[in-house]
Homo-oligomer: 338 residues x 4
């Protein structure tokens, strides 16, 4: 950590500040410039409250040199983390392909989709039972019943299941029904109480990036989960909010590289939510894999035109099978398998 | 609602679409252009699922003409809503000034601040007991004990209290301790389960705008609360996330005008969180009132340099007293009282 | 300037870097931490190329402590700059109110507006002769003839005139016609050749903030003009581009405070372009003055419904007279005159 | 075009509006709803001024159904445009790979890079002679001399050359020196006078996307060039400005798909400027090609650590050769050649 002092910081203040920092066992190197004095803090600076120091009148800026996350950082865990999900791995050489409908609607629908994506080579089944909707008047998902249908369909198709949780009081239900990956949606990325709650379990968690979350904030949310002892975190890039309105969000594939650089955690990409346009899904899935993602998450619906939510971004099982063919060709080019 | 069809939409599709819409009791006016056909839907279009129609292959776009919120809309409730909070009103001629520290730290601290701001003319006391922090390693607030200290301080100073809730399981505690306004923070603006939970109470709710929430999404979150039967919603503009990094966020004062135009709900402005800089607070408080806000929410700490969080944006009681003097001069110029 | 080296930077590299920096007369304080080495550069660091150093493989980051602008910085020019424009001052106690139509259309129109705003108390006349339009098929302004009409109208009404330049080859015309302030539009804020060209004149320049320009980039563009010897730069905040679509742009009033803090240059606010909505103009003009702006720039058209461009954001002369009344009441409250 | 009227629009106004529209030869279909009246305009609506109508007091909104660009639109030109650049084609099956240094520095440097990239399979040479720099104190390029060196190097290596123009008064020089593609930089995307000037030539123009330009605005800038008669426009996605600060900009690969969908013009991707990080260039080049781009534009410098600008994002000739190998493997997978 580096503290830049203002030009006219009185000596008493500097002395007070330095002794309070040293009292915490942190050493200080002082550089006196013509107009600014710079304090370089050396040692375990995690005990220093950056915000508090930045608040002092005579402090110009406080600059962090070390990352604020530890468990999520590659610095302290150089090897890629590979997470086992019901026998399927995410983060290793083999790509993860998570597919399924936005919402679970009927047992026939979810089982039909599950069989179709399994046949095409998907490795996991997704489907929403608890749906975060902007409007209170929109369909909110089949709730507990939907969760049941999803888990049944996953078992029948021999596919691990991924589904979103919206409040901590449902965790027991998710554990009892044996959901394989608990998803935290973009709107809950900084619902810290929910992060703490899933951090107490040992279930893999798929953590979507918030609509306007920086990569650092996203990794800090992963850190919340990991701080509770659950190291099984999978990140999911799903587009960020920008001024562009043609696509629902702007897919940020450089974030895949940044996450891989900063962290050892696996990362998958969701082109369906990122764009909101089904005709963009295949090309951006390929781009995601080419950029280095550990997998993709795709909305597939047996009858997208009749889907109860997000039909515009869902592809059909046939389109999904073609997408899988493309990914299968692409994978070896980038050192992956499918 | 307006549906624009693509150029080569087959007649069977158009017939199918139109009859399914008419079956819901909605009338259709058809305009056939050279390249596009436009369907104008007339009647109660809230029964039509916009997303689903937008998903059809032959539909070019679906344009909403009516707003998606009803209870929050000024169309159906032309008069300003005035909310009574423990005898103090928000939304009427008198300005609301909510002040207090970021975090409750000790009984002495919160009582000291409460007395000081009361003396300067504040109308409500704020203070955080449950703190949403980006890092799991930062101070998370004094929790239940902090809530107690805050409510005690409010009672002693005869000031209603405002404090943030972070999960639905704390609602009973908030009601028992007689919190006057339950705050929903920016990061929880689309925590729909929490919105539904406070919607079931009749306590006033202060709903902060999300970091990257559009005005429409914000009003939809208000609608979630109101749909549960709780009409006591106060909106709080606290800056949005943009590319500018000099201020923590970008305060959007045109949002005050937009909200007043679209909705009957009261709106206050929080310049402390919007900017993260204490020396900007007074000038932007004046700007907020000049723009038409119903009040401001200000961080005040008796010793900002030692504050356990957000010291950099807190002002001292003396600075607050000067700010109140400015607002008192300004209020009559814009048809307000303080 | 602070250079943070990576953990495993070889000693030869560190020696090479340090000697190349010292060769430029800059001193270095070294802090060796457990994992990072920090070099604090002391002296005239403007001779050091930050980008180049940041490019070295073993450099983690380069942090600038001093601002990159000099002539625009308040550090080296603590007093407010007051600019004289044909006898009217901008930047002093008296507020500047620049008003007029988006486009000059006819001599009658521009003269009519000029007389009306003069009567209401405006201090300068604006009007576009060269119009930057998103579409090549939209009205591009009356060009040279429009410039003539504007200057004539200004002379008749005894108002200095402000108008936009779009290419350097028109500078002679602007000087010959005796335009009082040359405006650089938002889309040309980083048209560096145009900045250099107006920097060679001594005419006051009104520099609009770019649609997505940071405050630092904006001040760097002012620095471009000032580096040419023209110190008469007036900044104009006109809204930035964000994800919000209800207003055309998002007016950033905290930028007014930031500019006043960082620079000695005067700043005015343009609520008409910022919002695109005429009914927001009066309230946001008041907010701008309350925030500390040195003036406002307002679109006024005698017949907004028939305006050849931007009618939706222009106010009528009557509305303008009422706005002036409000500002006249507000000015003394914030230590200003009008 | 669709015009939505407000609820209480008086009949005289509606009649006036409709007759003024019909006078321009445009037909109107009227839909009267319970609260809103909708006018559907049919015919050549390009003669209608949308902004002006939106300005009327009784108009709620005006919605464009047709795109505002014609010559750039795929609707009127369904086949992909293939542009011939000195014998090399952009927009066809063969991928374009444009490579070279940020700045031309010496004849040896630019010739060395040209030979190296040619050997590795690049199809064009880039290099800056006129450099847009944020600071007036940064290296501004070798100007006319640099242009000469670049064109010489291109001829010797048998590579067409691409270089940026910053003001219209240099066009004759660019034509005389036989530059093969004139580049318009991101900061000049809406420098309309420059767009008009290059529109009068018949030289291919590489038009970079502005830092915060929507896809529609970008295509409108292409339209400016094409409206002058120059149909040889190549678009270049180079990242947009968002709140994320880890990368210099956010590369928007969904824009590649959007442009291909909306327009017939070729599009290339510049991952060097988009990210500012050399280690991201190869992976994002692959992602760009996988997404469907017609080529990439890559910064290559023989000695990036000593580059006079943007060293941090330049790759070495060796890294470039490896990148070309990857692209050569990838191309056939996505139906391309290299």
């Amino acid at each position: 950590m580096i503290i830049v002092l203002k030009q006219h910081a009185p000596q008493e203040f500097v002395d007070m500040l330095m002794s309070s920092i040293k009292a915490k066992g942190v050493q200080i190197d002082v550089s006196k410039g013509a107009r600014k004095t710079i304090l370089g803090l050396v040692g375990n600076t995690s005990v220093i409250d950056r915000e508090q120091i930045a608040g002092y009148e005579y402090v110009d800026k406080v600059i962090r040199v070390e990352e604020p996350y530890k468990r999520a950082s590659r610095t302290f865990h150089p090897a890629d983390t590979v997470i086992d999900v019901g026998g399927v791995q995410i983060g290793g050489k083999k790509l993860a392909v998570i597919a399924g409908p936005c919402s679970v609607e009927t047992p026939e629908q979810i089982e039909g989709v599950a069989q179709a994506i399994k046949a095409a080579g998907a490795t996991m089944l997704r489907g929403g039972a608890f749906k975060p909707r902007t409007s209170p008047y929109s369909f909110q998902g089949l709730q507990d019943k939907g969760l049941d249908m999803l888990c049944q369909a996953g078992k029948k198709a021999h596919l691990p299941v991924v589904t979103e949780i919206m409040s901590a009081d449902k965790i027991d239900l998710f554990l009892k029904d044996d959901v394989d990956i608990i998803q935290i949606g973009a709107r809950n990325m900084q619902n810290f109480e929910l992060l703490k709650a899933v951090g107490k379990t040992r279930k893999p968690v798929l953590l979507k990036r918030g609509l306007s979350a920086t990569i650092e904030e996203w990794l800090m949310s992963a850190e919340y989960i990991m701080a509770g002892g659950n190291r099984n975190v999978i990140l999911c890039e799903r587009g960020i909010r920008t001024f562009e309105t043609y696509t629902r969000n702007t897919l940020d594939l450089s974030a895949v590289l940044a996450v891989k650089h900063k962290s050892h955690l696996p990362i998958v990409v969701d082109p369906s939510h990122a764009t909101g346009k089904r005709w963009m899904v295949e090309a951006l899935s390929k781009a995601a894999i080419a950029a280095g993602a550990d997998g993709v998450m795709i909305e597939v619906h047996n009858n997208p035109d009749k889907a109860l939510c997000d039909g515009a971004q869902s592809i059909t099982p046939d389109m999904f099978a073609r997408l899988m063919d493309s990914l299968r060709q692409l994978a070896p080019i980038v050192g992956r398998e499918l």
